[in-house]
Amino acid sequence: MTPAAPLGRRTLLALGTAPLALPALAHPPRGALGRILSQGVLRAGVWLDSPPFGYFGPDGQPAGMEVEAARDIARSLGVRLQLVPLGFGDRTAAVSLGHVHLACAAIIITPERLRRVAFAHPHGRLTTLLATTGSRPVSSLAELRGRRVLVRSSTIHEATRRLPAGTDIVVVDEYEQGLRAMQAGDAAAMALPEPAFRRLSLEHPNALLYPVAVLGDPPYGVALPLGEPDLLRFLNTWVFLREDDGSFAAWHERFTGAPRTPMSRL
């Protein structure tokens, strides 16, 4: 018996990465998954003002954990990727209005958002810390009553959930702005994501930034439109596989320099 011609690297690779040509099937995927596969392109919303989740790298190209996730989803689907930058406040609306097929934008899963979009199984947690500077005018949350705490709009949800009533919450545009305000004595503390805390600590060692408490550790996931069960199942399968093969951990280590706590697999 003559064996088949060598499969060869190119053929094998093409099977894994080339756009899938759907045969005339009795059960092709419907909805968004069907359109993505038949059109050969995935429109993925990303938030590029949120290192290490999404930002512009030194080469001017989008980079970050969530950008990497979007790239991998497109690779897994065997389609081209079209990244669509989204503002913080636009992320779920872009999904529910169909401007993007899905969003990889560190969107925290909340009951309110679940009424508007669906989420794949979470693939990360967004730890929000309350931090103060070296003079440490604050050592517990209870001491914040009547005092000023700085937040960015992205952390305001977690901040307002845990801070005591009577805390003066002020929104700042940048964490550096908040750090300067704390050093000047204009604020007692600031709520910020753990990656931002680590970055500020490294870039401003003299500020002696110190964590007071964990304000929240909510999960985030890929957001997709409601009513897309085939796409949802594909994404849940993808999350399972990438958790299992260590991809999420590798991306976390690459973009934050720190190890990642595995997500529960139920």
């Binding site: 064996p3 099977l15 092709p28 995927p29 897994s76 199942r233 993808w238 139920l266």
Partner: protein, 247 residues
């Protein structure tokens, strides 16, 4: 009451229950995973999983024999309701809905006794055969050096014949399938060299059939928590079953 035509989305579970049969697409040429016993009846681990799911649905199992490369096509053309033994991977996930895992199997490389390939790197420049179709091709391609020549075969008998004839120098097969091969071609002194990677094994079903997916996932969950999956793995594959994740 007869169900609607098989081609309509979301009606597979109703049709299966109405017709009182579950059509299961499976390989039957790879003992102990799937094969025909002395009475020519389907047997093996994959067959046992299929029978268990049919029992859970309260219907009769009907096995549709196939080759790996044909399985998705045959299901999409309505020849079967589910596919047994689908390695979990993104390529499979864009061809069908996949259940939570019901088992795990390693892909292993084996070679004749006089060709001791002890590590993947030693296969550079050598011919390796594997069963075509499915996630295995991509997995093997990533695991072996780019200089190795990979040949795909539709059947296990074709793969064995090529190894006997010296047209390939090693083969990649699921680990449980190795022992029957060793007994079948003793003149080769077929020897296990190393494992490539573990594969979670799931059930494949057509897109749009989410009621059926939920039913199968529930049955797999029950079988897992009741110890039935572990017992099947031990009895039919000779393998202890790892903790099975769910999603």
């Amino acid at each position: 009451m007869a169900s609607a035509h098989a081609g309509n989305h979301g009606e597979a579970l109703g049709r299966i229950l109405d017709q009182r049969r579950l059509r299961i697409i499976a390989r039957l040429d790879m003992p102990p995973l799937g094969y025909r016993d002395d009475r020519a009846e389907p047997a093996g681990f994959d067959v046992a999983i299929g029978r268990m799911l049919a029992e859970g649905l309260g219907v009769e199992p009907v096995f549709v024999e196939t080759l790996t490369a044909d399985a998705f096509t045959r299901m999409s053309q309505g020849e079967g309701d589910i596919i047994c033994h689908v390695p979990l991977g993104v390529r499979a996930a864009r061809q069908a809905l996949l259940t939570a895992p019901c088992g795990r199997v390693y892909l292993s490389l084996a070679s004749p006794g006089w060709l001791p390939f002890r590590r993947p790197s030693t296969l550079d420049g050598h011919a390796v055969g594997l069963l075509a179709g499915g996630e295995s091709e991509a997995m093997v391609s990533e695991a072996l050096p780019s200089g190795s020549r990979l040949y795909g075969f539709a059947t296990l008998s074709g793969l064995s014949a090529a190894l006997l004839a010296g047209r390939i120098e090693a083969m990649v097969v699921p680990r449980p399938a190795l022992a029957p091969l060793q007994r079948g071609i003793p003149q080769l002194d077929l020897t296990h060299r190393f494992d490539l990677a573990p594969r979670w094994i799931s059930i494949g079903l057509p897109f749009g059939e989410h009621d059926l997916l939920r039913a199968l996932n529930s049955l797999i969950f029950l079988a897992r928590t009741q110890g039935r999956l572990a017992a099947l793995s031990e009895a039919l594959l000779g393998l202890p079953q790892p903790e099975l994740p769910s999603f």
